[in-house]
């Protein structure tokens, strides 16, 4: 599998470390239901059979976290962006 890193270009997937679904966002730790919210954030996944926005880390390259849109049935990658858009802008 090849991932086109927005900075480094096309690289073999083995250069990247995988985290998973990019959708869950860290809940407000001060919220009343924080424990439940964190339970969902840390554990529950849609785990779709189809397109999925995922977090990959280009460990062997630019060490940027990427959001890769990949179909879990075909492994076809349709988009790759830096997770921290602020990082690239100047």
């Amino acid at each position: 599998m090849r991932i086109v890193c927005p900075y480094c270009g096309a690289r073999d997937a083995h250069e990247f470390a995988y985290l998973g679904d990019a959708a869950p966002t860290r809940p407000d730790p001060s919220a009343a239901d924080a424990v439940d919210a964190f339970h969902d954030y840390v554990h529950l996944r849609d785990n779709p059979a189809g397109p999925l926005d995922e977090l990959w880390y280009h460990a062997a390259g630019c060490r940027r976290w990427l959001v890769v849109t990949r179909d879990t049935r075909t492994h076809a990658i349709t988009a790759t962006v830096l997770a921290a858009t602020a990082e690239a802008s100047s």
């Binding site: 090849r2 470390a17 985290l19 730790p29 424990v35 339970h39 840390v42 060490r63």
Partner: protein
């Protein structure tokens, strides 16, 4: 000697000697082992898997299920080499396998007598009584009988290379379609790779007799190759099999670099694994002939018509003295004609069809060949084929032949199109499976797509390439196809001679006969996958290249369905078997993974260090003094010296991360359970880091060197993990923070000196001794200074060993010099280098947690850091750490242990049981995670976790180690055994 007097593509000026089963034979350059054996009239080359029946050569390439041999010997012995793909070389040495005492007399052939009972899956129904017999009696016997060749005797001495290639178009196969495609795309300027599994380009064109441009087809092949070679954008790769189609247009390929040589040239690899990334691909892998299922069809001498065409046309070998042809396809008639014209005697052409094209009959008549229409072969005779029984027009007749060419039509090589889950589609017109959905970027052309006939294959290959060129915005000149006459390609489906006598085989290697398929159907195994798994049909080393379709045909008939309805099993990588060595490449033995060396390594080796692999690192374990043979003695000496004078160890392997920017303090407060933003410049603080699920991830010290410059240390094991976590926080969670994190693990050599004379020693290397005075650099202080006359250095006052200690960091290229300088400066104080063993002893004496305690299953509270966790701020893991399961007072908590009987030893891995309790899971109170003999205290000490934790201090429990047969009464105590109030650290 069956070599034809003329013709073929072997080089008669280059004779080669080889041996098979100890007998010497001769062949020519350009032969395969199979063609050379046939030329030498060797028919019997192996034994089948189950019944050990005699086996000969059936095919002429990768599809060969029978002619498997042990090639070479000793450390280079290769089991299951296909004689049909082994390129002959001078001195080749091969042996028949799976036969004892010999291939001509194999005692295991007795299995054949029991074939009525050894039917499909019989073993699932028996061998069950008595209970123990399966493992003691039956299975060992089965295992001995099963298997094929033997693995080499010793580590593979050859090298295996790996390489990457990139192209616009990968053309797989170099027959008519492949060559036309490569030439068209090459002329259009595409970056083309042409991969051919064979050692010679041309595919079937190398075997066919019918001329191209009024000359032998090989002439056109050579012209085409010459042009391809002249194109800088085209890379022809012979001896290179594309074995797998992976994601992102990545193709796995195996190049047999030196398999055609006795041994690889000096320093050359045996094989090379190519990872080819191709935007597009054209699969032009051709089609292979299909066996017919009839009685005794496995007898040596029965072979594929296509193979006969190759023996005669390409290798100039007459495979038999008298050859019959049994077919339902026109192509086999053409084979008979070509063979006859080349000098092979043809006894008869038997066609299952009642009528064939008049042209064929005419051509046969012209050659005086006997033809039998509407006929079938019902049985064969001879250890190697001596006669066949032909049934036609209501009567049987026995023909004395020693060769039989069979063809029930073709099976397109759709294998690679299945690698992304594409299912082949049944095509009734050609009675074959043709490609279904191919992997992205791949198109199929020629016989592999079910397109037969040369001109059609030329046209299809060229058209596919032209279309792809257009996609790249390039125009391809029209392909100038060579002139030639297309052979007849008519055929009608014919699978199985129902009236066969004797075993009619489908899978030759696995001994799966028609009756086995019928039995499977009768027992309900009608799904193709069940059939395969129940009968082992198609699971042999050819992965069903020959057996699948005939097997499906028998299944379909037996279960009252069509082949389209039964469907087929999926081909999975690899297309042809790939040696494990090639897939591993250079990463073997001591070079399996890169070795990291510490900055002071060369000094340590001079100092006589005994080294140990610590993850990627090689570190000093201990430094035996002259005459010290027992490592325990060395370690005890090192500990005592450190506790009483000063000891030195290289701790550069700790992860180090340089942190700069205005928001570092805020970041650290969120990373660590404790607070860092309040840390003053020039100070160091110990911190504990959790995962979001509330369990501890790592620990270490972080120093604030200046207002906006910090340096964090991580454990050696977690260096990469923490760096990745940190970037996750900065890029994904809180990208508003202005922090630049840079790994400086490699930048700084860090050497720790500990002991009462540490300061005196350090004074000898720092340029400004005043800067390290007790008040100037107190415990947990940090200073940037210089050592060894101006070398940039950072000095941190801390000690894992629990003494007055310093960690001195200098640029890694000066680490060795620093070690030597410190040793010199400390000589007067008895400085002693120590290794990981002594470090472990001292940290256990001090009750410091390390790898065995930071195992990802423990919380800050478990480890006794509960009070460190700041509730004034949020940090990663804080919320989840409040879950009931993580605050349960019954959780195992971190404590120390000492044996009641001080003479007894403790071992990590022992579990804790109450006095008198039975050794059961329910009674399990915890475990000892780290243990050592303490030279300082003169007795064993242990660290570990016990249900209830510190609340149990003072209790007596048992350290039960059933594994090693010890059961020691231990007192639960506080984890710190040495200098609990830390006075020595602050000294």
């Amino acid at each position: 000697m069956s070599r034809l007097s003329s013709g073929g593509l072997v080089d008669r000026t280059r004779p080669l000697a080889f041996s098979f089963d100890g007998r010497r034979y001769g062949g020519f350059a350009g032969d395969t082992l199979a063609s050379a054996l046939l030329a030498a009239d060797v028919r019997l080359v192996g034994r089948s898997f189950k019944y050990h029946r005699p086996r000969g050569i059936v095919g002429c390439g990768t599809e060969e299920p029978n002619a498997l041999v042990e090639l070479r010997s000793g450390a280079r012995r290769e089991p299951n080499a296909r004689a049909t793909t082994v390129e002959l070389y001078d001195g080749l040495d091969a042996r028949a396998q799976n036969a004892w005492p010999s291939v001509s007399f194999d005692v295991m052939a007795i299995n054949g007598l029991f074939s009525p009972f050894f039917g499909a899956a019989f073993y699932y129904k028996t061998f069950m009584w008595p209970k123990a017999a399966w493992e003691k009696l039956y299975e060992p016997a089965i295992r001995r009988a099963a298997g094929l060749g033997r693995v080499a005797d010793a580590p593979d001495p050859d090298a295996y290379d790996k390489a990457h290639a990139f192209c616009d178009l990968l053309v797989i196969g170099s027959g008519p379609a492949g060559l036309a495609a490569a030439l068209t795309a090459g002329r259009a300027g595409l970056r083309v790779i042409l991969a051919e599994e064979d050692f010679r380009f041309g595919g079937r064109l190398l075997s066919e007799a019918a001329p191209l441009d009024d000359a032998a087809p090989v002439a056109w092949v050579e012209r085409t190759l010459a042009e391809l070679a002249s194109l800088p954008n085209v890379r022809p790769m012979p001896r290179t099999a594309i074995f797998g189609v992976y994601d992102g247009g990545t193709y796995g390929a195996l190049e047999r670099v030196a398999d055609h040589l006795p041994i690889p040239g000096a320093h050359a690899p045996r094989q090379r694994l190519w990872k080819i990334v191709a935007t597009r691909a054209i699969l032009a892998a051709g089609a292979i002939d299909r066996p017919i299922v009839f009685g005794g069809n496995d007898r040596p001498g029965v072979m594929l018509a296509q193979a006969v065409e190759s023996w005669v046309g390409r290798y100039a070998v007459a495979p038999a003295k008298a050859l019959a042809v049994f077919t339902s396809a026109d192509a086999a008639w053409e084979t008979a004609f070509a063979a006859h014209d080349a000098g092979q005697q043809i006894a008869a052409v038997i066609d299952a069809r009642a009528a064939v094209a008049p042209a064929l009959l005419e051509a046969a008549k012209r050659r005086g060949l006997r033809t039998v229409l509407g006929g079938e072969v019902r049985s064969t005779a001879g250890k190697t084929l001596s006669s066949i029984e032909v049934f036609a027009n209501g009567r049987s007749e026995r023909l004395a032949v020693d060769g039989l060419a069979m063809s029930g039509g073709f099976s397109p090589n759709v294998h690679l199109t299945c690698h992304h889950g594409g299912r082949p589609q049944w095509n009734d017109a050609i009675a074959a499976f043709v490609p279904g959905a191919a992997p992205p970027g791949m198109v199929v052309a020629g016989a592999a797509a079910g397109t037969y006939g040369r001109s059609a294959c030329f046209a299809e290959g060229a058209a596919a390439a032209a279309a792809i060129a257009a996609d790249f915005g390039r125009t391809a000149p029209a392909f100038d196809a060579p002139r030639g006459v297309d052979a007849a390609t008519g055929l009608s489906a014919f699978w199985h001679v129902e009236a066969s006598k004797g075993m009619a085989f489908i899978d030759f290697q696995n001994d799966v006969a028609a009756k086995d398929v019928k039995l499977a159907v009768k027992e309900g195994f009608t799904s193709v996958e069940h059939l395969k798994r129940y009968t082992t049909l198609g699971m042999a080393t050819d992965q069903g290249k020959l057996a699948n379709v005939p097997g499906l045909a028998v299944l379909a008939k037996a279960s009252g369905r069509t082949i389209a309805e039964t469907g087929t099993t999926l081909f999975r990588p690899p297309w042809s078997p790939v040696s494990i060595g090639a897939l591993a490449g250079h990463h073997r033995g001591r070079d399996f993974r890169p070795l990291r060396l510490t900055p002071s390594h060369v000094w340590a080796e001079e100092a006589g260090a005994v080294f140990v692999e610590a993850g990627p690192w090689l570190r000093a374990a201990w430094f035996p003094a002259p005459g010290e043979t027992d490592w325990r003695v060395a370690v005890e000496r090192e500990v005592k010296a450190t506790r009483t004078a000063v000891g030195l160890i290289d701790v550069s392997t700790f992860g180090k991360i340089d942190l700069q920017g205005p928001d570092v303090g805020r970041l650290l407060d969120r990373l660590y359970v404790n607070t860092f933003s309040t840390l003053a410049p020039g100070r160091v603080r110990y911190g504990v880091m959790c995962r979001e699920d509330g369990f501890v991830m790592d620990d270490g010290t972080t120093a604030r060197l200046a207002d906006d410059r910090w340096v964090m240390t991580t454990t050696t094991a977690n260096a990469a993990k923490v760096a990745q976590h940190l970037e996750f926080c900065l890029q994904v969670l809180w990208s508003d923070l202005d922090v630049q994190a840079v790994s400086v693990t490699e930048q700084w050599a860090q050497i720790s000196i500990s002991g009462p004379r540490a300061r005196d020693t350090l004074a000898g290397v720092v340029d400004d001794p005043a800067g390290i005075a007790a008040e100037a650099l107190p415990y947990m202080g940090a200073v940037e200074t210089t050592v060894m006359d101006g070398v940039k250095a950072r000095i941190f006052r801390l000690s894992f060993a629990g003494e007055l200690g310093y960690e001195i960091a200098v640029p890694a290229d000066r680490g060795e010099a620093l070690a030597r300088a410190l040793m010199a400066a400390g000589a007067a104080f008895g400085i002693t280098p120590y290794g990981l063993e002594a470090l472990a002893v001292m940290r256990i004496e001090k009750g410091h947690v390390s790898g065995p305690e930071l195992n990802g299953q423990t919380t800050a509270a478990d480890l006794g850091f509960g009070r460190m966790v700041s509730q004034k701020k949020d940090s990663i893991g804080r919320v989840m750490a409040t879950r009931p399961g993580l605050v349960d007072p019954a959780r195992p908590g971190f404590v120390g242990f000492r044996p009641l009987d001080r003479t007894q030893r403790l071992a990590a891995g022992a579990h804790l049981l109450a006095r008198g309790a039975a050794a059961t899971t329910d009674a399990d109170l915890g475990w000892i995670s780290s243990a050592t003999w303490s030279p300082t205290l003169g007795h064993a000490v242990g660290l570990g976790f016990i249900a209830g934790g510190a609340a149990r201090i003072g209790e007596v429990v048992r350290a039960w180690d059933g594994l090693r047969g010890t059961d020691v009464e231990v007192e639960v105590c506080a984890p710190c055994f040495y200098d609990p109030d830390g006075g020595r650290l602050r000294g």
